[in-house]
């Protein structure tokens, strides 16, 4: 009965919270704690032996003897590298005061004998070093023979600490490398929230807390009703379409209190660590009464060869309203394999509420830029874990031959693709759930999704195809026409153009901004972009709905009303809610009369 009440309580506080009446802090905190209890209740009666269940049982105290036996069982054959490290130490720290000596010994033995890989991505290292730090604190003064890597407790603790501070400095001076990822936010949050909750070293505990706030602040400003908007460093294809399956979505529900309940076993670790988000971020994540423009600077993952510098900058622009979030990266290949350069997401509650475009590029040059192995035999290894990487129909990935220019809610995208490049086409995604998708005589494709209107003007001819998507279907494989239960599958639309010198203009407005859809269409029909599309000379000139003249020449000559736009002046964060200068190690968070200043040099937060 108590659990049913908890669920209903959480549900009531989640629905209707978005862009409506915002809760006061006390109510928000109470609702958050109810959600925490609801999360524990999802797993603490399960008999399935895995770390999440065991952690939930330790948290609630439900049959500790069973939890102990399950823990000993799951520790018999460890695997998963840092994806083993974080649930192992998270579970241990949740239950260590309750578990048996035998269970404790099993955990200790695993950290002596199982050698997890450190991995090669920023999220791998965050998880690896955060959890190794916590483990080294738990078992101090042990010699190297008691650890999987031969290093003593002190050596492991000191190295982990050094890395965590160096990483934090890089992140707060040059931006995150694996940035704004709906599918990897969870990995970062788990790492830093575990530090926030469990580190004994007060400076590391404070660093973990500040970084957890930092990452959630980064998410909050691009958050629209559980969706992570704008351009992303990494996203999986399925989650690109279905945001409910991204690991950031439970954070939107649990921490922002947004949308319907969404649960993930991994969310338990930050929750059980006791990390609580500052109330100001709840307000920023949910108040969409006023539209705003937000800009960011991130950095590219290490370019270990073929590039002029190790970590080139990434420039982001995001336009937010209550109805849509429309954002982009400046273009080029900024992250391997899973980049999403731009998108517009709608707050409609419909399936696949997104429109985006891409050049579905792949190459051994891309792989070699980021990975040290031999490039020519590398494709098989990449596709073993990212199956659609070399599929010309894929829906994620960056390209050296794609660049953007976004001015508020107008976006210009240009392509100059050399002959022989993979692929020799560009694609646009239009979901079945659009209310309207009109191919207008003017050349504009005019779309309506709830109160959001999208105009897409292709600079070259293209062809439409319909793609049927069955539930649980692997993307781009098979084209079934009915579900097993006889229902019709979703139909999405692909706009493909085979011209190598190419591009499009995208205008997005909502009812609040322009009125009716018909008015939006009428306005666009009068605005036809002028393009030059020759190899090596690709450019477009366009006067947008706000009367601004945008001129864009591939790859990076951008002019607004005749004035050159200099992206190199972008700050780390620049919007109404977040401000941070490059190299500052500072972050200012503001909402109306509330303000928090994060100083990562002094590890202090002032209000």
């Amino acid at each position: 009965m108590k659990r049913l009440f908890s669920f209903v309580f959480a549900f009531l506080f989640s629905t209707g919270a978005f862009s409506a009446q915002l809760m006061d802090e006390t109510t928000y905190r109470t609702a958050f704690q109810e959600r925490v209890q609801w999360a524990i209740a999802q797993l603490d009666t399960s008999t399935r032996a895995n770390f999440n269940v065991i952690a939930a049982r330790y948290a609630s105290g439900n049959d500790i003897a069973l939890a102990d036996s399950m823990l000993i069982e799951v520790l018999r054959e460890p695997s998963g590298d840092m994806f083993w490290m974080f649930p192992c130490i998270g579970t241990y720290l949740t239950g260590k005061d309750k578990m048996s000596a035998e269970a404790k010994a099993a955990v200790r033995y695993a950290w002596k004998t199982y050698a997890p890989s450190r991995g090669d991505t920023e999220n791998h290292w965050a998880m690896y070093y955060a959890t190794l730090f916590l483990a080294a604190e738990q078992w101090p003064d042990l010699p190297g023979s008691e650890w999987y890597n031969g290093r003593s407790s002190d050596e492991n603790r000191i190295e982990s600490r050094e890395y965590l501070f160096a990483w934090a400095k890089l992140t707060t001076t040059r931006g995150q490398g694996e940035f704004d990822s709906p599918d990897y936010l969870a990995e970062y949050m788990i790492a830093v929230a575990l530090l926030a909750g469990h580190a004994q070293d007060p400076e590391v505990k404070q660093l973990g807390t500040m970084l957890a706030d930092y990452f959630l602040a980064d998410f909050a400003v691009e958050h629209l009703n559980q969706q992570y908007g704008g351009g992303h460093s990494r996203i999986y294809e399925r989650n690109l379409m279905d945001y409910k399956t991204s690991t950031s979505t439970p954070y939107a529900y649990f921490y922002f209190g947004a949308g319907d309940p969404v649960f993930s076993g991994w969310i338990l670790y930050p929750l059980l660590a006791g990390y609580e988000m500052p109330y100001i971020l709840y307000l920023i994540a949910n108040d969409r009464d006023q539209p705003y423009l937000h800009k960011e600077r991130k950095r590219v993952r290490h370019n270990i060869r073929y590039g002029p510098e190790l970590n080139p900058p990434v420039y982001k622009t995001t336009s937010m309203t209550r109805d849509y979030v429309f954002g982009s990266l400046h273009g080029g290949l900024l992250q391997p394999i899973q980049q999403l350069t731009w998108s517009v997401r709608f707050n409609t509650g419909q399936p696949h509420p997104i429109i985006f475009g891409l050049h579905p590029y792949w190459s051994i040059r891309e792989i070699g830029t980021f990975f040290p192995e031999e490039v020519k035999p590398s494709m098989a290894g990449i596709t073993a874990s990212k199956a659609t990487y070399n599929n010309p129909d894929k829906w994620t990935g960056g390209s050296y031959y794609e660049y953007t220019f976004q001015q508020k809610n107008t976006l210009l995208v240009l392509y100059d693709i050399p002959v022989g490049t993979t692929s020799n086409h560009i694609d646009g995604f239009f979901p079945a759930s659009l209310d309207e998708r009109l191919i207008d005589k003017s050349g504009w494709i005019l779309c309506k999704a709830g109160d959001t209107y999208v105009g897409w003007y292709p600079l070259q001819p293209g062809e439409w195809s319909v793609e049927y998507e069955l539930r649980n279907q692997i993307w781009n494989q098979g084209t079934g026409t009915t579900e097993s239960d006889g229902t019709l599958p979703l139909r999405n639309y692909r706009l493909r153009s085979w011209k190598l010198q190419n591009g499009y203009v995208v205008e997005v407005r909502c009812k609040d901004e322009i009125g009716s859809f018909d008015k939006f269409c009428q306005a666009l029909r009068k605005r036809i972009p002028q393009a030059q599309l020759q190899p090596g000379q690709v450019s477009v000139s366009y006067q947008n709905l706000d009367g601004e003249r945008l001129e864009f020449a591939f790859p990076d000559q951008r002019k607004l009303n005749g004035k050159i736009i200099d992206y190199s002046r972008f700050k780390l964060f620049d919007g109404p809610f977040l401000q941070a200068d490059v190299d500052s190690q500072m972050l200012t968070v503001e909402y109306k009369d509330l303000k928090r200043i994060y100083n990562f040099k002094t590890l202090t937060v002032t209000e």
Partner: protein, 337 residues
């Protein structure tokens, strides 16, 4: 063809046994033994070894290990070993019974390691982020990239210490060939105007002769310590070479392998080449080594299927184990004084 795991104490005995049972020990380093990625359950990967007289591979170190290369400090009789690994440098001072990661987070994806031939305190390591030196036997490391000015120049694919003077170190990089004459303190680009160098080796008998294997540009040879280079492409049908190995017993014989190449052989010092692949199920060759005591016995490490052996100087090949192994390095160390 079995892989064996042993207790630490047993390993010491087994390694010693391996050393005395044959004339040489073959060390194989693998990045993986299947297409796995971080977070998955891994097959056993890392350092494999066996005597040239043996038919069974043994394994040393952590099982979940991505190892590029290894080296052995010869004066210590096989007790001091170093591994260049994805997670940094791993050292053993007891013949492989126990291992320690001796580098920290500043070193990653270390692809090469070399001991000074006579001073166990001096160890060098190479990575995609540059060159490193240890002056305390591999316990700590310092980056030395003076002269390696670009991202491509710091991406080091191979190195060797000049057999005439170990303070003269040569490295191949994505930017070309570099040389240090001061034990790695500074670097100067050499005369090969080709990028994406994958391997660089020195002739065992005539130390002025260098060979370089490249990505997309075949094989080059220098007769004057790397100052001038000529392409050696007579008989070469493929562009990309990852490995070049000399027959220590026959000065004019050398082997080369790379992407889709099978194994090339030259019997005239690289002037012309002929390739053979009979028995090779996989043509991507990343490592080659010749038994120093038997010129007919050649080992080939492949990118996707372990190790092959030729007992007839490269004419035919036979699979000899490490299923699905992505072999990066293959080293034969003589057990004779």
């Amino acid at each position: 063809m079995f892989k064996r795991s042993f207790s630490a104490a047993a390993l010491v005995l087994l390694l010693a046994a391996a050393l005395v049972a044959g004339e040489a020990t073959v060390y194989v380093t693998t990045l993986s033994t299947s297409y796995t990625h971080t977070g998955q359950k891994h097959s056993q990967s890392g350092l494999f070894y066996r005597s040239t007289a043996d038919t069974v591979w043994s394994f040393s170190g952590r099982p979940n290990n991505r190892v590029y290369n290894m080296d052995r400090f010869e004066p210590a009789g096989g007790r001091i070993l170093g591994l260049a690994t994805h997670a940094g440098v791993q050292m053993s001072w007891d013949g492989g019974a126990t291992w320690k990661v001796t580098s920290d987070w500043r070193m990653t994806e270390v692809s090469g390691i070399r001991f000074h031939p006579s001073d166990s305190a001096i160890v060098y390591a190479a990575s995609p982020y540059g060159f490193y030196k240890s002056t305390d036997g591999g316990h700590s490391w310092k980056q030395q990239n003076n002269g390696l000015e670009t991202v491509d120049a710091t991406f080091i694919s191979s190195m060797f210490l000049d057999s005439r003077n170990p303070d003269m170190i040569n490295i191949s990089t994505e930017d070309g060939v570099y040389r240090s004459t001061d034990a790695g303190q500074s670097w100067i680009r050499q005369g090969l105007n080709v990028r994406n160098i994958r391997t660089l080796v020195q002739h065992p008998h005539n130390p002025s002769i260098f060979f370089a294997g490249t990505e997309n540009n075949g094989i080059y040879r220098s007769l004057d310590d790397g100052r001038h280079w000529q392409k050696c492409d007579t008989g070469i049908l493929h562009p990309t070479f990852y490995t070049i190995a000399f027959d220590p017993s026959q000065p004019e014989t050398l082997y080369a392998g790379g992407f889709q190449t099978g194994v090339y052989k030259s019997v005239n010092g690289g002037k012309s080449w002929k390739h053979d692949f009979r028995g090779l199920d996989v043509l991507d060759i990343h490592a080659l080594a010749v038994d120093p005591h038997n010129s007919d016995r050649i080992y080939a490490g492949t990118v996707t299927n372990g190790v092959y052996l030729s007992e007839d100087a490269g004419k035919t090949w036979e699979f000899i184990g490490i299923d699905s192994g992505y072999v990066w390095g293959l080293t034969i160390k003589s057990n004779k004084e």
